[in-house]
Amino acid sequence: MATAFRATTKGYRADLEPHERRLLSSLCADVITLLQNREKETTDTPDSASEDPEFAHFRAEMAGLGGDEPLAAPTDEVLRRLLPDALDDEEEAGHFRRLSESSLRGAKLADLRTARMLLESSPVSIQEEVAPMFGRALNDLRLTLASRLNLETEEDAERVHELALASRSKDSEAFMAEIYTFITWLQESLFSAMTEFLPEEETDEDMGSA
């Protein structure tokens, strides 16, 4: 049985079973594949295959810089949740997506790859500096599972919770619900521990400061 994350002198530590680490790592790999497929989908234009690869690269750069053509939101529900529209207006959102989506995808890929690397060791020990990356990756896994489980309202959340606690004979949905609940517990433990270490600074005069 796993133990949740707790603070140590070097960061945070959780004891996970080998099959739990493998499961989390393979879920990360699934989301990585999904994001990479989206990358191909957004860079492959119908006529780019026949082009000189160097020129295609140059064109991709120009497309990113020019940002004149709006980029349509992904059709896949999970990708829509991981890479959401930033504006209500569809066309404006498409223009912004053209400029920003690849860096958002890149950041998520980096988080997920770091998480896979950290899941290689037992116990899972995470240094302070990489804890946010690991935590964001866990969050992306939860968003992915939630989307697959059609978890959209507080009532749905309740349904998923009940499903996870249900009988031993599990179908794939109940299994996903159980994994979702497991990752929720793990993420909660990590951020409860991380919260303790945040410096308490009163900077609220300047609300937007980053």
Partner: protein
């Protein structure tokens, strides 16, 4: 703003005009809104507000609860560029966020 009526400006020159209006829109104040969703944990959302915006524990909790109970909260104000940066950061954390012109 000047009127282009009866103008003999070439296309390049009118493009300057649209460039000017784009610059003006970049000057207008924008705000970033975070929306409630049933997936993101309260602990996590508070942590994001504290670590990214540098809010105090109390202020982060207040904002998090506003999202939770009222369905949305304005988390940052500023020029368009700043709002774009903040909304992308919120998306990187997996929060549901949009940017809009400030009222």
């Amino acid at each position: 703003m000047s009127s282009a009526q009866g103008s003999t400006l070439s296309r390049e020159e009118t493009d300057l005009d649209s460039e000017f209006s784009r610059l003006l829109s970049a000057q207008r104040p924008y705000q970033v809104v975070v929306w409630n969703d049933p997936v993101n944990l309260m602990t996590y959302v508070s942590w994001v507000f504290r670590s990214y915006f540098g809010h105090s524990k109390a202020r982060a909790k207040e904002l998090m609860l506003q999202v939770h109970h009222q369905g949305r909260a304005v988390v940052s104000h500023g020029p368009r560029e700043k709002a774009e940066q903040d909304v992308t950061a919120m998306h990187q954390f997996g929060l549901q966020a949009t940017l809009e012109e400030a009222e």
